[in-house]
Amino acid sequence: MTAVLQVRDLRLWYGTARGSVRAVDRVSLEIDAGSVLGLVGESGCGKSTLGRGILGLLPEGARADGEVLYKGRNLVTMSPRELRRLRGPDLGLIFQEPMTRLNPLLRIEDHFRETIEQHDSKLTPKDVRRRSLDTLGRMGIPPTRFRQYPHEFSGGMRQRIMIALALVLRPSLLVADEPTTSLDVIVEAQILRILADLKENFGTALLLITHNLGIVAEACDRVAVMYAGQIAEEGPARDVFADPKHPYTRELLRSTISLDTKALHSIPGAPPNLITPPTGCHFHPRCPDVMRVCPAHDPIETQPDPDRRVLCWLHGPEREIPEGGTAPLEREQIAVAEEA
């Protein structure tokens, strides 16, 4: 299995008046062709930034450091013009909010024609039309609606149109940023099925960003759990959910509501400030298993199993932990550590 995407030690920081926001703070991951990687985390953990940063679509004032290798080519150091040429035929992005992502003055036909002609101007209008209708058809949009305007479609249909637009040039890597968050459950199921089919029909590598663990369990091969700009844990979806290694993952799973839920469980505390994140392990102020070493030293990534990674001192290399570091941290010391 060749890796379509290899992210190595990526940092994506935003500049603000109060200091740099460390939205993504040294993240590494890999996605193979035809594979779906789910990226989960709370709001504000940096997963959206990561998704867009990989494609080079960050706003003003953001800077990138590290490597993003798409089929061996580093996107971070690529010129904007080359990067733009990759968008469409190689890289695709599906946004969260489909209602506002289409130009209200243009017909669907115009959107497709523009996208295709930007990248392949030699195609005849008939070919352009055929390709567009073909992709739209796979998304369940009939050809009779090709010449309609965006406002004539429902939210779910607009999302399907957006997916078709992203796919019409057959990209090898697709990033879906919370594609179903603003849609109802039934439409969500339809969209997920479409995304799941991608690997069958197109062999696309998919990065599925979401805060919904259920979607990940259903649609993803692998999952990466993100917290405060870092990957807390990563591995095959089924294994991670059955046997979470990182306390955060465990707490997340416990917080999920199902028909068996008798009492609501939540993780105490609030997501951290990304300008001045907590020292050492970013999760330590809220961690039920926190140890003395946690606020003192940055955790080192280990592989508890061959196919899994975790960033936590509980699984950390023994020799790196100083004397007495594994003793549990008292709560008031946590408060002190937080202020430090």
Binding site: L57, G88, G92, R101, N103, H151
Partner: protein, 341 residues
Amino acid sequence: MNQGSSLKRYAITRLALVVPMVFILLTLVFLLMRVAPGNPVSASLGGHAPPAVIKAISHQLGYDKPVYVQYGHYLGQIIRGNFGTTISDRRSVGSIILVNGAATLELTFFAMIVAIFVGMLIGLLSGRYRDSPLDTGGRLFGIIVYATPVFFLGLLAQLVFGIWLGWLPISDQASPITQALLQTHTNIFFLDAIIDGNWSALWDITQHLILPATTLGIVYGGVFIRLIRVNVIRTMKEDYIEAARARGINERSVVYHHAFRNALVPVITVVGLQLALLLGGAILTETTFNWPGLGHELYIYLQNRDYAAVQGIVVVFALVVVAASIVIDFANAFIDPRVRY
């Protein structure tokens, strides 16, 4: 959904809404004129006419009837297209509109073209290159130009281009010779010259048009600059712009096909609103350049305290603005499919 039917439906709804507004406008003008102190007849006759004459004319024009009767008469006349007769020189307001209204139309039309051109050119560039020296320059230009009263700019234009350089005429719609030789078809000199195929007349008319139209157009173009610029900035932030970039559309296409086009849509509405302002400015321009338009006539009739004339002309102005706003709304509905109800 059929495009034709939704447009039609929009048209009917829009027209229906206009009726109460026109009604209110007409009533407002009627009341305004009745608020004026003194007898309208004696005022417009210079206040020296003998009482018997005043009484006779008042009776003839119906001013001695009760107010509501006058109101009914007034509305009835307007529906039939009769806007009244002036007291001082017994011309029908209708004929004034035909002749002088055409002159105002000519001036306003060309001024609007200048305004839109100036506004679009500078506004689009300003918004696109926001905060660059080009933007700063453009905005400053827009502000200063709007701050310049149209009569002052007119005065300067006359001084520079008319008197010191001697390039262009500084008053009137056309030279007396041209006016004598021109056949009247539409009363719009520019069109009449074209219809006649009279090219020397057309040249003369154009020369007379340049200073007033450009003066009026530049001043009101300043407003467009501000507006278009803000719209361009706002549009560039829209979600579909980001989505287009994510599909690899190059920046030039994004700017021209998406941003500029969408930014200009609300401008069409503003053109309609600006028409009201432009007509106001036309009054000043016509006075400065001695342009024989409705504004000029209004000014003279106001001086003569001819209430009937003033009433008639004001009604026409207001109705023109209402009509223009309807046209603009239609254009808007045609361009932006979301507007149709």
